[in-house]
């Protein structure tokens, strides 16, 4: 499925290690760590809102060195294993790389991408709690939401020209962005994000979700259901579409679990205002429309 050459895979893997994090988290990390008594939970609160920092922490904790009996999917659990001071030092290292510029040669707004990722993460967690209790860990759904579109930010940073073409194609032909990516790049952001997650030994179910969230033939799972529908809810609510706006023709991805009526689902889900407000503050953006 992946049209990436092994050489490009390797290059992207190395490049992501030097990838800067998001402006707000870099600023918050620098601010918090100036105080020797900063609260660990405040540090965790920042790191777990940044897809780049979260990726990098999970990469360390899941590395072969730790040989942990089970794979780790949460920043909090990484703190238990590595200790808060190590997390603090790692975060400072990530902050020292610099900040992701808001705009890039691809014309992809990374702060709106962050808004999308954060709201999908929060919504996926809430969907898991309400609709898949006992089937899937809501924390895992949060991470899946935060990282599901990681491939896009990698494209924007490292394959900017091709990604710009994909964005243009999807607008001009009114097709979803991942279709445009397949045409312009040869592969969509799912397999690329999954390739990185696999390279860094993330847990299988997370890799599967990242790879297949746009693949209708993929094996369904509670986590995938929550992720896909959270993504739809967020695009439907026009909170932040990450380059892929809601289409009237779209049907709910997992009707057996969530029903077929988006408005009815939203009513059951209740207000998402807190998730949205927190995400907007962190991503430093206003309402899309």
């Amino acid at each position: 499925m992946s049209a990436l050459t092994p050489e490009l895979e390797r290059k992207l893997g190395v490049a992501v290690e030097r990838m800067p994090a998001f402006p707000r988290s870099v600023q918050k990390i620098l601010e918090l760590t100036r105080n020797i008594n900063c609260l660990p939970k405040d540090l965790v609160g920042v790191v777990e809102k940044d897809p780049v920092m979260t990726m990098k922490i999970l990469k360390v904790i899941n590395s072969a060195y730790y040989g942990l009996p089970q794979k780790i999917t949460s920043v909090g659990q990484s703190v238990v294993y590595l200790g808060i001071n190590t997390i603090k030092n790692l975060a400072l290292g990530f902050a020292a790389v610099g900040i992701l510029p808001r705009m890039n040669a691809a014309g992809f707004d990374i702060q709106r991408y962050l808004l999308h990722s954060l709201v999908v993460a929060g919504t996926a967690r809430q969907l898991a709690t309400q609709f898949a209790k006992g089937e899937v860990d809501p924390g895992d759904c949060y991470i899946a939401g935060l990282l599901h579109d990681f491939g896009k930010v990698v494209f924007a940073q490292f394959l900017a020209v091709e990604f710009r073409n994909a964005l243009v194609h999807s607008v001009e032909h009114a097709v979803p962005l991942h279709e445009g990516e397949k045409i312009a790049i040869g592969v969509d952001h799912g397999p690329v994000g999954a390739m990185l997650a696999k390279r860094w030994a993330f847990p299988e179910h997370l890799i599967d979700c990242i790879r297949d969230h746009h693949n209708p033939d993929a094996e369904p799972s509670a986590m995938m259901d929550c992720l896909r529908v959270a993504d739809q809810v967020v695009r439907y609510r026009e909170v932040g579409d990450s380059g892929n706006p809601w289409r009237e023709t779209e049907a709910i991805a997992a009707p057996a679990r969530f029903g077929e009526d988006m408005e009815a689902l939203l009513a059951q889900l209740g207000t998402l205002d807190k998730i949205i407000d927190d995400a907007m503050m962190f991503a430093q953006v206003g309402h899309e429309k």
């Binding site: 939970k41 060195y65 909090g76 294993y81 200790g83 808060i84 001071n85 790692l90």
Partner: protein, 298 residues
């Protein structure tokens, strides 16, 4: 198996009249397996008097295990005299440092920068070998087995369990029992507590059947709230831990550098009293303070 304490002080060497009885050297523990293989746990300033002792019988074959690379656990290493004598062999074991991305092989290089120490590593004549350990993977030393277990400190810190012919001793190095970073009313509290309990349970299981626990008991329970996150344990906490593990003996070490011998004895007695400790009581471990020269035979 024999265990002998050469350095018991935390943080910084603290010589003087107030620390005469327990000693002012920083951490160093000598373990001799039944076949007399030499295991040295940490290389604080206590390793220097140990080195003097070892020079009486050459060649020296030493297996040094570094719990972590904070100064008080490594500062004696350049003064470990056997390193300078051809024919000796010194194998230095320790963990991988995530922040620098290096193994234990950097331990000397960092300390021996020329502006800070006059001898270069290349000038040390003993055979020196570095072994970066993997968590939970035991290594053999003579007839003993040493297992590194990941504990909680600001840097990677291994506690070492040494097993020899059915007897066992565990030294924590510096360790603060895992705590919850959230307050009970916070959203993440329950989930985090579950992870903490899992981590503690995993350590307790790895210490099943332990005879002697040597634990970083820097603080009292009353002092602890001002020291959360510093990476050290308490006397009271480790008394409870030793009871839970069912060990035969608990040795409290890493004494606070500002504590005089009298004060150390006072806080120790108070901790025993507040824990309702009855010496010789059924199922109670023997509990003692470490001091330089203390020797245990297992």
């Amino acid at each position: 198996m024999k265990v002998r304490f050469w350095g018991v002080r935390g943080s910084i060497p603290s010589p003087g009249p107030h620390t005469m009885r327990y000693g002012g050297n920083t951490t160093c523990i000598e373990v001799r397996s039944d076949d007399n293989s030499l295991i040295v746990l940490d290389a604080g300033s206590g390793i220097f008097p140990l080195a003097q002792q070892l020079l009486k019988q050459l060649p020296v074959q030493a297996n040094v295990f570094i719990t972590h690379t904070h100064w008080d656990h490594i500062q004696g290493l350049p003064f470990f005299t056997p390193l300078y004598i051809p024919g000796n062999s010194v194998r230095i074991h320790g963990g991988f440092d995530i922040i620098s991305g290096r193994g234990i092989d950097q331990i000397m290089e960092v300390q021996l920068q020329y502006s800070y120490f006059p001898v270069r590593e290349a000038e040390m004549r003993a055979g020196i070998e570095y072994v970066t350990l993997n968590i939970g993977e035991p290594v053999s030393v003579g007839d003993a087995t040493v297992t590194p277990l990941m504990l909680n400190h600001p840097v990677v810190n291994f506690g070492y369990r040494v097993d020899c012919n059915g007897k066992s001793v565990f030294f924590t190095g510096d360790h603060e029992p895992w705590g919850n970073i959230y307050a009970p009313e916070d959203e993440g509290y329950a989930e985090y507590q579950q992870m903490v309990d899992m981590q503690q349970g995993q350590l307790d299981r790895a210490l099943a059947g332990l005879d002697v626990l040597i634990a970083d008991s820097s603080y009292t329970a009353a002092e602890y709230p001002a020291k959360v996150g510093w990476g050290h344990g308490t006397l009271e906490g480790h008394i409870a831990w030793a009871r839970r593990l069912g060990v035969k003996k608990l040795v409290c070490t890493h004494h606070e550098p500002t504590r005089s011998d009298d004060e150390l004895e006072q806080v120790f007695a108070a901790a025993l009293a507040s824990s309702g400790y009855v010496p010789g009581g059924a199922g109670e471990p023997e509990i003692m303070l470490s001091r330089e020269g203390l020797e245990l035979v297992l």
